[in-house]
């Protein structure tokens, strides 16, 4: 699973570098510098962010940055729409600094997301994974630089570069439900339409309007359905790529009226069309990537819902309090919420889950397997170690590969747990390499 993540990240990296190398073919130095600096800055900033700021805030920051990038695509699309998309390659006036800064931003975004996608767990494994991935990236970089000139002759439309890079970043984000932008977008759209329709009809004040028969009300009801949010979100999602694609199409071809011989004229037109078609590659590719991102987002079950554990601290009385509702976080949303409590070197991962109408709190480990943790998939949680599916209803019951339950109390202020009890239960019940059942006799 971690391997799959790593491979995906590397693949995206290769595509990103390949595209950028093609977009700024004449600017290899600026490209390399910007890329390297951006990547390093992004990862370091990412680590710093997660270390310094607790809870959901780092995700919020990264998500906001992504949203800003997405919104900037609209600006790009608007500019392209009014200015045309003549190939950037035709204008050698793109300055090194501009290239370097652009590339820096993209690479930094990638670095940030890379940190988010790293496995949690002991710090060592995280750094090892990062080191491995960075090494592999370096290797890929070399290969990609070699391969890039072999690519077919595809030009880069103006605006295509940012479209391409941002869409790749959004794709990575869509792989993790916490960073995904598409679902919140659809939610917003749905809410907006909902509110609008509500107020619009409220102002008419007539539920039994003589002109509105039931079937018409049914159509109005359609506006409230989930589908509206999805399709509306989808429409907005694709505006930038569609905009740039259409702008490329819309752009008038240079006049060939001065050429007298018809066959020659046609040949010129054909060449121009071919060139324009090449410029369409990147916007269309970006569109595909965006589609993949939207798909990932609406089919999150492809990956187990497995949020990064939130670090929690015990108060002076040795009690950990998890608020049931805190901003975006709602413990009763039926998804598992992971937490990490650390006392000295001892880390305790546990999660809270609302199922069968009750909250339950269990360790992120069972008493038999290595504590690889659990992920949630519709109706079940899976033990990553032995791949056993455990029905949600039985989470909170002891035994088998079920996560180890811990005592807790719920009141108005939230879920109360004893920190000491957590540590003790973990130490006493969770398997480590030293303590195996029976031991291969």
């Amino acid at each position: 699973m971690i391997l799959a993540r790593g491979v995906t990240m590397l693949l995206v990296w290769a595509i990103l570098v390949m595209g950028l190398a093609r977009a700024y073919a004449g600017e290899k130095a600026a490209l390399t510098a910007g890329c390297a600096a951006g990547l390093v800055a992004g990862t370091i900033f990412g680590f710093f962010l997660f270390a310094a700021v607790p809870g959901e805030i780092p995700f919020f920051i990264i998500k906001s940055a992504l949203a800003a990038a997405f919104i900037s695509l609209f600006i790009v699309a608007a500019i392209v729409w009014y200015r045309g998309t003549a190939a950037e390659g035709d204008r050698p006036s793109v300055r090194h600094a501009v290239v370097a800064i652009t590339v820096f931003l993209f690479a930094a975004g990638y670095g940030l997301l890379l940190v988010c996608r790293l496995p949690y767990g002991t710090d060592n494994s995280q750094f090892m994974a990062l080191l491995l991935i960075l090494l592999a990236m370096l290797g890929l970089w070399m290969i990609v630089y070699r391969l890039e000139p072999l690519l077919p002759n595809i030009g880069m439309a103006k605006g295509g570069t940012s479209l391409f890079a941002v869409s790749l970043l959004l794709f990575i984000a869509s792989l993790s439900p916490r960073l995904d932008l598409f679902s919140p977008l659809s939610m917003k759209v749905m809410k907006l339409i909902h509110d609008f329709v509500h107020q619009f009809f409220e102002s008419m004040l007539i539920p039994d309007h003589p002109f509105f028969r039931t079937d018409i009300w049914n159509y109005i009801g359609l506006l409230f359905s989930n589908g509206v949010g999805f399709w509306g979100g989808l429409a907005i999602w694709f505006i930038p790529t569609t905009g740039v694609t259409l702008a490329t199409f819309r752009e008038p071809l240079p006049s060939v009226a001065h050429v007298r011989q018809a066959a020659v004229r046609r040949k010129l037109i054909a060449a121009q069309l071919r060139e324009r078609r090449r410029r369409l590659f990147f916007p269309l590719f970006a569109g595909l990537v965006m589609a993949a991102a939207a798909f990932n987002s609406s089919h999150p079950s492809v990956e187990y819902w497995d949020p990064k554990p939130l670090a929690v601290k015990a108060d002076s009385a040795g009690e950990i309090v998890l608020p049931v509702k805190d901003g975006d976080v709602d413990l009763k949303d039926g998804k598992l919420h992971k937490y990490l409590y650390q006392k000295g070197a001892q880390k305790v991962r546990f999660f809270a889950l609302y199922r069968s109408g009750e909250l339950t709190v269990v360790l992120d480990a069972c008493s038999i397997c290595q504590p690889d943790g659990y992920g949630q998939n519709e109706g079940t949680v899976i033990c990553y170690y032995c791949k056993t599916l455990i029905p949600l209803e039985t989470v909170g019951k002891p035994g088998g590969c079920n996560p180890i339950p811990v005592p807790f109390a719920v009141d108005g202020s939230g879920v109360h747990l004893s920190a000491e009890m957590l540590v003790n239960t973990w130490v006493a019940q969770v398997q480590s390499e030293k303590k195996l059942p029976g031991g291969g006799k």
């Binding site: 032995c386 035994g399 088998g400 590969c401 195996l436 029976g438 031991g439």
Partner: protein
Amino acid sequence: MLLRVLKSSLLNRPKAIVLLLLSITMGAAVATAFLGIYGEISHKMALELRSYGANILVEPAAAEDGADLDEADLKKIKTVFWKYNITGFAPYLFGIVDLEAGGKKARGVVTGTWFGKELEVEGEEPSIQGVRVIAPWWDVAGQWPQAADEAIVGVSLARRLGLKAGSEIVAGKNGRSRRFKISGVVTTGGYEEEQLFAPLPTVQGLLAKEGRISRVLVSALTVPMDDFGSRDPATMTKLEYEKWYCTAYVTSVAKNVEEVVAGSRAKPIWQIASAEGSLLKKFNMVMILLTSLALAASAIAVSTSLMASMAERQHEVALMKTLGADRLQVVTIFFGEILIISLIGGVLGYLLGDQLAELVSRIVFSSKIKSPFWLFPTAILAAFAVAAAGSVVPLRRALLIKPVQVLKG
């Protein structure tokens, strides 16, 4: 222009097109139908196979006669690690007794068991356990025993003694005897048809073996055995052992049960355990094979009809080449045609295959299936695959056409 050419070509050669469309549609339809019922069937098969009974037999470890197990351990079966995988179990206590009914005498086996006992285990949901759970195919003419002195009798024993529902039978051993009222006659298709089945406590009293049982049959949901599962746990490293213990192989579940039933040895009933795994595996193979065969067949059909039409159209190809079409342009035109046809064929095939799948599942499994949404793209892809595979040879042939030889001046 390309579209114009394709349109004219498709509209003006109905015979060839219909033939092609037919083969592609068939391919897509068969693929859709197979895949549509596939998921449904393997699920149903697993359940149906499951109903063929227990797959773990728990017996006393000691080999001597008269060794037995403690009934009190039965509850622990519901508390083992794999308790959620154990769908049911039933204890048995056998004894050879003298039977007497309506003047006829015979020696026979009386078996004490649970028919459908409500089992309460602390900390677990109450469940029903017994023969009715693990042997649902037992066919009882009459009633299952309700009271302590009711019994059911195997059909061949009943025939021998002339018993039927409502008759009475006396079983005696070592001076003790007990009168049973026959509530039903059971057909099982196995050796059980020679036995008399009565509630466990009653038989324990009769045989003076209070609280004892001879064996337990356990029915568990297991994962199919693979190479790793069939390794000897004794040879495993700690990590491997842990993984093995943690996977619901029939062997590891058996071991699990054995640990809680004192003095027992639990062994998988291999016929069922392996039949289950290998049957499903074989079924998967058959399905995949059939689907690929069907696709290959329609690809060949596509290939033949394309070949025929290519022979007809070789003048056309030669002409295009004479006009200066390069290989890509020739391929574009012909492949474009095939692509359009296969798109139509894919849609038609999907509709057809969906109906077919529904029909099959209604006839064979008498159940409705709802086709998953991914079936549609799969059907289209199958159509494309068939078309692409079928057009390789004809297209190669087209590219090899030499204008000079075809267009003799």
